[in-house]
Symmetry: C2
Subunit: 157 residues, 2 copies
DNA sequence: TCACTGATGCTACAATGTTGCATCAGCATC
DNA sequence: GATGCTGATGCAACATTGTAGCATCAGTGA
């Protein structure tokens, strides 16, 4: 993986993950460190399953339920963010503060989720009286560059 | 249910539902008619489960799988629209054309989804090169008027 | 090193959605 | 109105995603 694959904001490192977790008052465990590092190293939000696969690839033993709980804990602490991708499963990414809340693009051909760092998800729409806005989620659906290209080529044949 | 509870656009009626289904070349069946009428009569998107409950209340026999297939078919034909509410289950509403595509509000206290007819979901954001936009989904999360009020009252005590 | 307690790793279960297949019923035709 | 074709239905089984309960393990402070 190259630097350009990574999220632009933080330079992920083992000590960063440990510090991040410890700062929240949680225990610094193998699973949590690995989950944070996996999310930090990914350019796009990962599903629970993808995080699990990454841990397995790194030979880090883990349990499905523990992973759910670790991800939930990260979201609860504000370290992580949960995204409804439009598919059934949640996806998770590292939170970079409210001001960095961005829209996501969901490719309906390959299922990939891409962060649109330039497209803010925060809006101040006219809500009915009495409604309180907590956060906005903007998900764009379509075809990513790779899939769109493949589709054009296929239809040309 | 009063008129103000209903979606503003079409005046739902049995013949409407039949015509809508027949116009797509599909067979006009008991289940499909009931599903279309249920969605038309609702002011907000319904989950599969809620549609099933409505059919049960109307004494219309139906199967869970048939309901899934009927809803899928409606979406496929452009009669219905599928919404990822942020919870695990899909929700469905009657589609009123692309120009009526609107944002939705998800109340995190009562789980209700409200259509924000005045807030368009369509945007033309700056996408990376090669990306093709199909549709945008904007979901706002927070507390609806009822829940927000209850919360304020509870915290005053 | 020890004790406390939060985190983990099991099993079991719930909710939501899908697949395969035999049967039924809508619709066109006669 | 009777008939046949085929799409729609109903049922059982299964897949995926997420949650609950509980015994055990391990991080952390003393």
């Amino acid at each position: 993986m190259t630097a350009s694959d990574k999220h632009p904001d933080p330079a992920p490192s083992r000590s960063d993950a440990r510090a991040l977790i410890a700062a929240c008052g949680g225990r610094v465990t193998r699973t949590r460190i690995a989950v944070v590092e996996t999310l930090q190293a990914s350019a796009h939000p990962l599903s629970h399953d993808e995080v699990g696969a990454a841990l397995a690839a790194a030979d880090i033993p883990h349990d499905r339920v523990t992973l759910y709980r670790a991800l939930d804990w990260l979201v609860e602490q504000g370290i992580g963010r949960r995204i409804a991708s439009g598919e059934r499963a949640w996806r998770f990414e590292i939170a970079h503060g409210e001001e960095h809340r961005h829209a996501h693009f969901h490719c309906e051909r390959c299922g990939q989720i891409v962060c649109l760092d330039d497209v803010p998800a925060t809006t101040t729409p006219p809500l009915p009286a009495g409604f309180e806005l907590d956060r906005a989620e903007l998900v764009l659906h379509g075809a990513c560059a790779d899939c769109g290209r493949r589709h054009v080529q296929a239809s040309k044949r």
